[in-house]
């Protein structure tokens, strides 16, 4: 049973999903503090119509064309969200929910049309749930490039990202090019999303962007540590999820990765060193004990001594 781990295909999938997980966990931490976790999900869903339109327009299955289509569609989605938010009274999360469902529904409709005309051969269906099992050597390179890009941009400008997320106004006062950083951030996010979608699908990439970052929050009070832990959780979800799915008979990889990520979250929620439920419960108990000891009047204590 374990011999399957020695096989090239398993290794390709392992590496690809692990590296993608690291990249997603990293950029996901930034999205978390921008209060835009839902945005990752909205953008992932908004990318779908772009993929199909690109396919229908150019009639090629060339990955680069489809990914570009996905990116353009996602950016248009972001544009609409911004537009709704600034010109109507609708709040951001409502706007995101709207664009998510509208674009995604539109995408599914286009998918039906595409499937009827050129059939499932296009592989467009894989953009929804992904097909991690068929990853090959070239996918490992692609993911590595992505991860190197994301991680290096975040690490090099780490203190700049910190202030950009913590105190935008002060950052602007220091001369930090906020608009420029907005663009870089969006590029990193959209790139991660569209590269991730072609491998693991819309649903899963959103999970990798959101869950590891949230889980990391429960373990630390340092932003640096949170980004690192988030990347680790993302990578671990990919690795362990792939491992488990490889061992089973015909088990699909994608869902297992999501389940792993969710498990990390639940463990973090309960056992997290800084904010976990269990830890807070113990702390409270300890405080109560101290209170009780302190509230015993000294006269009583004196009596005891006598």
């Amino acid at each position: 049973m374990w011999s399957i781990l020695l096989n090239s295909n398993t290794q390709w999938v392992l590496l690809s999903t692990a590296i993608l997980g690291i990249a997603a966990g990293t950029i996901g931490s930034l999205a978390y503090w921008k209060r835009q976790s839902l945005m990752s999900d909205a953008l992932a869903h908004a990318a779908l119509p772009g993929v199909i339109i690109a396919f229908l327009l150019f009639k090629v299955k060339h990955l680069f064309v489809l990914i570009t289509g996905a990116a353009i569609s996602a950016v248009i989605g972001a544009f609409f969200i911004q537009g709704i938010r600034s010109s109507t009274r609708i709040k951001e999360d409502t706007a995101m929910g709207m664009i998510l469902s509208i674009f995604y529904g539109f995408g599914i409709m286009l998918l039906t049309i595409a499937n009827r005309t050129s059939g499932n051969q296009s592989g467009l269906n894989n953009f929804i749930l992904g097909q991690s099992a068929s990853m090959v050597q070239s996918d490992v390179w692609t993911m590595s490039l992505l991860a190197i890009l994301v991680v290096s941009v975040v690490v090099i400008g780490f203190k700049e990202w910190k202030i950009y997320l913590f105190d935008r106004q002060f950052a602007s006062g220091l001369g930090l090019p906020l608009k420029g950083m907005d663009v870089v951030y969006t590029i990193l996010l959209v790139t991660t999303i569209v590269v991730g979608i072609q491998a693991v699908g819309v649903i899963l990439i959103a999970a990798l962007l959101i869950i590891p970052a949230v889980s990391a929050r429960y373990w630390t009070h340092s932003f640096q540590a949170m980004v690192i832990i988030s990347a680790l959780f993302g990578g671990a979800s990919g690795t362990i999820g792939t491992l488990i799915s490889a061992i089973g008979n015909g088990w699909p990889t994608g869902p297992f990765i999501v389940v792993l990520a969710a498990s990390f979250f639940i463990i973090s929620l309960i056992f997290g060193k800084e904010k976990g439920i269990l830890v807070q419960y113990w702390q409270m108990k300890r405080h109560k004990k101290q209170e009780i000891i302190q509230s015993i009047p000294t006269s009583v204590l004196k009596k005891e001594v006598q």
Binding site: K159, F166, D167, Q169, F170, S172, G173, L176, A225
Partner: protein
């Protein structure tokens, strides 16, 4: 006379569809400690934000040290409202103060031990040395304000803008902050503070700017801090308690 460090001419700004500032004109001299006061919605925060290019200008000009904001950024320090930031963000007090040094550290460079020392000293000045490694979410309101102030100090600016730094802080913090402001003034720096408490203006500031969408009156405290000016700014009737200004009653209509 002292050098004019800040000059505002015919400044107008809007917030969504409402004009919040109209025709604001004033000049500020070096070494002055000015309190900006006015009722709610008077545009005090907007004034600071507009001057610091955080809010769009509809018309008018702002000159710092005879030049534009962009060119003089390094000489300007800003302490925003405490509520403008998410204090849940995972970082320690020392890190926040270090942010004030980013301009000096340089973009994309790592902070050095020297910078760390400077940040620590600023915290010490604010009486927060013991809290340098404390998570900011664990600080009280007053302590957070001191961290913000330390961050501003470390910028070594020539003019400082502060948005309600004394709001919601304990008495000890209030004293500490005002002590620092006096030291800044003694060193020849200029400070402009949006102040929430009309009663203490005379105690703390040598200049007052009465603002209600436009400048009602601006000048030395002992000259302009009068019942009339207050009444005009706040548009309501005032009750005098023991000769000092007591409660200001705002009418229902503005």
């Amino acid at each position: 006379m002292n050098e004019v460090v800040l000059e505002v001419k015919n400044l107008t700004a809007a917030y969504q569809k409402n004009t919040v500032l109209r025709d604001v004109n004033f000049q500020v001299e070096a070494g002055s400690l000015t309190g900006i006061v006015g009722p709610n919605g008077a545009g005090k925060s907007t004034l600071i934000k507009t001057m610091l290019a955080l809010h769009p200008v509809l018309s008018g000009e702002v000159h710092f040290f005879g030049s534009t904001y962009k060119k003089m950024k390094k000489r300007i320090g800003y302490v925003p409202q405490r509520g403008s930031v998410d204090w849940d963000f995972p970082t320690i007090a020392l890190d926040v103060v270090m942010m004030g040094l980013y301009g000096q550290i340089g973009w994309l460079r790592r902070p050095t031990k020297t910078h760390q020392r400077m940040a620590f000293e600023a915290l010490d000045k604010m009486g927060m040395a013991d809290y340098a490694n404390r998570q900011i979410s664990q600080l009280s309101g007053g302590q957070q304000q001191r961290v913000f102030l330390a961050r501003a100090l470390v910028q070594s600016a020539d003019i400082y803008f502060m948005d309600e730094p004394l709001a919601g802080v304990d008495a000890a913090t209030e004293r500490a902050i005002m002590k620092i402001l006096d030291e800044l003034k003694a060193a020849g720096k200029t400070v402009m503070v949006v102040h929430h408490d009309l009663q203490t203006v005379a105690d703390y500031f040598d200049h007052v700017l009465f603002l209600n969408r436009t400048v009602i009156k601006h000048g030395k405290t002992n000259e302009v801090y009068t019942e009339d000016n207050i009444a005009t700014t706040y548009g309501g009737s005032i009750r005098l308690i023991g000769g000092r200004i007591g409660n200001v009653v705002h009418p229902v209509k503005q």
